[in-house]
Amino acid sequence: MTGTTTGGFDVDPREALAPPAQAGGCCGTPVTTAAAPPADSSAGGCCGTVPAAQQPATGSGCCG
């Protein structure tokens, strides 16, 4: 896997740096990126943040 030039970020790494943490994200953890799922305790599904019918086939993190 070494010696390739395909690794690393495809964008400026600073784009992975979140804005200041806000309360109320997935599983009660703070939302720290714009890409994070919205807090919606009425939505059902994992941790109340992802509409049940829209949960992904595979996932990452506590909310898929």
Partner: protein
């Protein structure tokens, strides 16, 4: 000794996914046994190990008996499969014994009411109308399974079942009756983090914390196993292996610790308990999933610019693509506490289903994840104090 050992990585995954740990749900005998097992593994690597116990509260929804559901329509009765055709909605009220009711699109006495989406207000209205329960649609994964979750919205006023979307749609047509039981209840549990110190930080040396959660969603009451090999035995294995190697490589003064966290699946409770105890200036790298390398998803919070730059450099060197994506896991607790924290995810095939078995964990991904962690820490440790985020300051 100085490279990730595939056999050692696999051994951790396979041991954690084994039957005695019962899916490693927080607050269970299996979860506690997994913590003890990991403490022994870490001590064998030369670390000093301690436990941190914490209260989760009543956040966990426990399915204490197997839910049942059957659908009668036009003279036939079809028994539906749990976690394929239907499952408990996490907000469901307890329904220990099966209740029969006709299916209705409107809230009526004695009916199972069809809703297109869950809302507490709609369920409360159905309860006030005398309905027996609510049916909402839910999708499946590519294998036709409904991933198991254990934490969610506050309990609702009625039993709520999540029904496979196509079946839910067919329930609208004609006269149908549903007979179902939903034995689910909130349980008040405690969790236990496993904290390992490999090297104490001294002077202006950097401090690093590698984290991964070891808990899972637990086996079902009928004995159906949830091995949680990908989410997150794989992350635990890569973190332990990275620490084992970094222990012998880091420069004098650099600190290195590992936190194997409990209660993530119930709402990241282990990291919530641990983050406030961590010394300021610590760089946190959380790994959640290291099972299927297509690309690594990275989310950073707190003053993590130098950590991201280090990850970028090592990703390029190793040929590991990195993508800025949401990683809603324990890393957010550390970031919220003001620490430089990154969450890294490298795939979870079979996510929270019985198919999340050790054979789904790619050895190459385990090795790549360990190398990514090792490389990022070494990159940052080699930088001047000012470049890696300022002087280290202890609380």
């Amino acid at each position: 000794m100085r490279q990730p050992d595939p056999a050692r990585l696999r051994a951790v995954v396979e041991s954690l996914a084994a039957a005695p740990f019962q899916g490693r749900r927080v607050g269970t005998g299996g979860g506690r046994a997994a913590a003890d097992h990991l403490a022994r593994v870490l001590r064998r690597t030369g670390a000093t190990v301690a436990f941190q116990d914490f209260a989760v509260g009543a956040a966990v929804r426990e399915v204490y008996d197997l839910p049942t559901m059957s659908w009668a329509h036009e003279g036939t009765r079809r028994v539906l499969d749990f976690r394929r055709d239907f499952c408990e909605h996490l907000a469901s009220a307890d329904l220990p014994h099966a209740v029969t009711g006709r299916v209705s699109a409107t809230a009526e006495p004695g009916a199972w009411v069809l809703h297109d989406a869950f809302s507490h207000e709609a369920v409360t209205a159905a309860a006030e109308a005398g309905a027996v329960g609510v049916l909402v649609p839910r999708g499946t994964d590519a294998a036709g399974r409904m991933p198991k979750m254990i934490a969610g919205p506050a309990p609702a006023a009625l039993p709520v079942l999540a029904v496979r979307t196509d079946i839910h749609g067919r329930l609208h047509a004609g006269d149908s009756t549903i007979r179902a039981a939903v034995p689910v209840r909130p349980v008040d549990v405690d969790g236990r983090n496993v904290l390992a110190t490999f090297r104490e930080q001294h002077g202006e040396g950097p401090a690093f914390l590698l984290t991964a959660h070891f808990d899972g969603v637990g086996d079902d009451p009928d004995g159906t196993r949830y091995p949680a090999a990908c989410d997150n035995a794989s992350g635990v294995a890569a973190v332990i292996e990275a620490a084992r190697i970094l222990h012998h490589r880091l420069p004098a003064g650099a600190g290195l610790a590992v936190a194997l966290l409990d209660g993530e699946e119930a709402g990241a409770h282990g990291s919530a308990a641990h983050a406030p105890t961590l010394a300021r200036g610590t760089h946190v790298l959380n790994l959640d999933g290291a099972a299927a390398l297509r690309e690594a998803h990275v989310e950073a919070g707190g003053p993590a610019g130098p950590l991201l730059a280090a990850l970028d450099r090592v990703g390029r060197r190793l040929g590991v693509p990195l993508r800025a994506r949401a990683m809603p896991s324990d890393n957010r607790r550390y970031a919220a506490a003001g620490h430089a924290a990154v969450g890294i995810g490298m795939g979870m095939p079979g996510y929270q289903t019985p198919l999340e078995t050790p054979d789904r964990v790619e050895t190459a991904t385990l090795v790549a994840a360990a190398e990514l962690l090792i490389g990022a820490v070494e990159e940052l440790a080699a930088e001047p104090v000012a470049s890696r985020g300022g002087p280290h300051s202890r609380r």
